[in-house]
Symmetry: C2
Subunit: 416 residues, 2 copies
């Protein structure tokens, strides 16, 4: 089945926000075996939306719109879709009551009257009620084309897709599509494709597809079968084959991120971590604490952006910094050991390097990074070149990912 | 003039990446007075790209494509555009030499032979040479429609737009468009629209347009005139009018971010800052150190995610934490004072709160945040409710922004 995504919102055409809904939905649809051929973005303009709908209904089996369901948008999306597909709108009293309740309990005030139109939905549609916002979504079928409407705010769009729209779409499929994500750090997308060239080219069901992500990549294995069990049975040997072909650069299957894997490994072993960050400037701590419940494994850390903090807080000796510089193996080791000491954690990771835009005063190139890991059995250190030539952000995010991978490898006894 | 953006890349339709190029270009084009009516995304598929081009040339004066210029893409974009617009491709020897040099100097290896096709460009085009990557862009005009091709990788796309394509487009405009961005923190988009309803509705040139951004908003004032000077003369009283209407929630005009303003204020006054972060978990440090040259004003900080680190590193007394809890005014004050003390900074900010997903063990609601600021004249503290009901990320980013705004207000002597 072919899907087309139509996003409605002048804020997208003004560049106020990126169309992250399209990315999210495309990834989910592709994992369900639904092929996306087009994304289209139009403004809050009924004429251009109607045109986009007319074009889409000729070339897609599924049209998913995002946005234009708010109370101030004059119900642009619903009205225009109904006009295009020849449907009426009708008031859903139960949905109206839900919106009223949402205002009272979540926002602590009465619903303004213009929100009433959010309870207007096409006749004979499947309602996607929205417990995380005011705009419900919905879906209907007309002449073999399924039209789904989702709200634009990413949090609501994701919630309604996952909990409502995905089920609607699953029913359309003949059979079940199951996929697994094999996450990889430390091997580029082209090398992964090289290593898996044969199965990628020859397999039809299950299939393998590579994805490049920030600082890492992923292979998705997808199978279509009559039942979930049958699909899983097809996937198990394929996932194993990928693991074998790629080796220990595979850091997990269906896991969220490197830091989530590190966090789970620490929890499993009852260990705690802290971080001393120079060039990453808090990014490792931020990524660890992005995970709910982080405090059971992550004690905290020090952002030692200046030598004063490296000495004063982490206890790195001034002579050492003078002799070797802040971007050096001795500094990285001392930072990790000092951090472990003051934070009282089992392990402490440190990162010191040159994020750029310029090389440092000792002539270290942009991207030069030392990562040390201190533990009960001593301290290890690696020198890396991270994200060179791709700007400050990339150096920093690549350094943080490398630090997480070093912790993972150490915890699993893998070569560094 | 009307522009249409066409992004080419199957990775966009698979959801592997978001179309951030479209956001960037839309914002830039809109600031130049060029209206964007459509974004379209197609995969690496010549047939669907040709169709999108045919549609776009009928409704737009400017078509900008992103992506499909890489050596492995079989020159999909250039070939298809040339076929659609009836042009030939020709080899540019100087561009080929630049690509060879780029490989040698930046990547330290010889150029693979398939990169030769990156030096093939349409006959009689304006070349956008690319010093930050291998794929040059280009532009030509055919029957009144301007076609611009930019590479897909965001870093290269932005560089080539800013340094090459923007100049090409400026020449097309009759007159000059100048715009200023008035950045606002602490007032919602709808209140801003309310306060500026009259000028927004009535002005034709210059104009005012509101933008909602993460945790903040912005008003863009744009003027079109024969010269830059004339445009600036039209804008000056308008910017002043907005400042007067909104008051001290305006944190800057044409500034990058709240943290950039804080950083500039600190530099101006010769002051340094450090940060003690609990619920924000390193985000304040990360945002400060996103700015190049941060080390002259930001000394570093402590991520005190656990009480052990609050006591052991920041010196917050265990009795205090016991009595009031970690999410409390006394804890926030002690964290800021302890951080100022150990980091040796003039000012220290602290944040402690409940990021969620659940309320804390003392019953503090998700979003409850205490922010304290310690300085030579004492410590101030505020209790806020941040990003409630919008998830963990939003609570954290709203808390960090609020901390930056509190520092700004304190440095400028504004009411907190």
């Amino acid at each position: 089945m072919i899907a087309e995504l139509i996003a409605v919102g002048t804020e997208l055409l003004l560049g106020s926000i990126a169309n992250t809904d399209a990315q999210y939905l495309s990834e989910k649809l592709s994992a369900m075996g639904i092929t996306v051929h087009h994304h289209t973005v139009v403004g809050d303009n009924p004429g251009r939306l109607a045109e986009a709908l007319e074009t889409a209904r000729k070339r897609a089996d599924i049209i998913i719109t995002t946005g234009g369901l708010g109370p101030t948008c004059d119900d642009l999306t619903k009205q225009t879709i109904c006009r295009t597909f020849g449907r009426e709108l009708e008031l859903h009293a139960d949905i109206l009551e839900e919106i009223r309740t949402w205002f009272r309990t979540k926002l602590g005030r009465e619903m303004p009257e213009n929100n009433v139109q959010q309870a207007l939905l096409p006749v004979n549609c499947t309602v996607f009620d929205n417990p995380v916002g005011t705009a419900p979504g919905c879906a209907f079928e007309e002449n073999g084309v399924h039209v789904l409407m989702l709200p634009g705010p990413p949090f609501e769009c994701r919630y309604l897709f996952e909990h409502r729209a995905a089920r609607y779409l699953e029913k359309l499929a003949d059979g079940v599509i199951v996929s697994h994500e094999i996450k990889i750090f430390g091997m580029g997308e082209s090398s992964v494709e090289e290593a898996l060239r044969e199965p990628m080219a020859t397999l039809a069901n299950p299939t393998l597809a590579p994805y490049a992500k920030l600082n890492e990549c992923m292979v998705r294995a997808t199978a279509k079968a009559e039942t979930r069990e049958a699909a899983e049975k097809m996937l198990a040997p394929l996932v194993e084959q990928v693991r074998t072909a790629l080796g220990d650069v595979v850091y997990g299957v269906d896991v969220e991120s490197l830091e989530a894997v590190v966090s789970a490994l620490l929890r499993e072993r009852g260990l705690t971590l802290s971080a001393a960050e120079s060039c990453t400037g808090g990014l490792i701590a931020k990524r660890m604490t992005d995970l709910p419940g982080a405090s059971s494994v992550f004690r905290g850390g020090v952002v030692s952006y200046t030598n004063g903090v490296k000495s004063g807080v982490l206890g790195v000796s001034g002579e050492l910094l003078e002799e070797y510089g802040a971007v050096s193996e001795p500094a990285a080791r001392a930072m990790a050991e000092g951090c472990r000491n003051i934070c009282g954690s089992d392990l402490a990771v440190s990162v010191t390097g040159v994020a750029g835009p310029d090389r440092d005063s000792r002539g270290n190139e942009v991207g030069t990074v030392y990562i040390a890991l201190a533990g009960p059995e001593g301290t290890i250190c690696r020198k890396l070149s991270c994200g060179r030539g791709r700007g400050r952000d990339r150096v920093r995010s690549a350094a943080a990912s490398s630090a997480f991978d070093m912790i993972r490898r150490q915890l699993l006894g893998l070569p560094l």
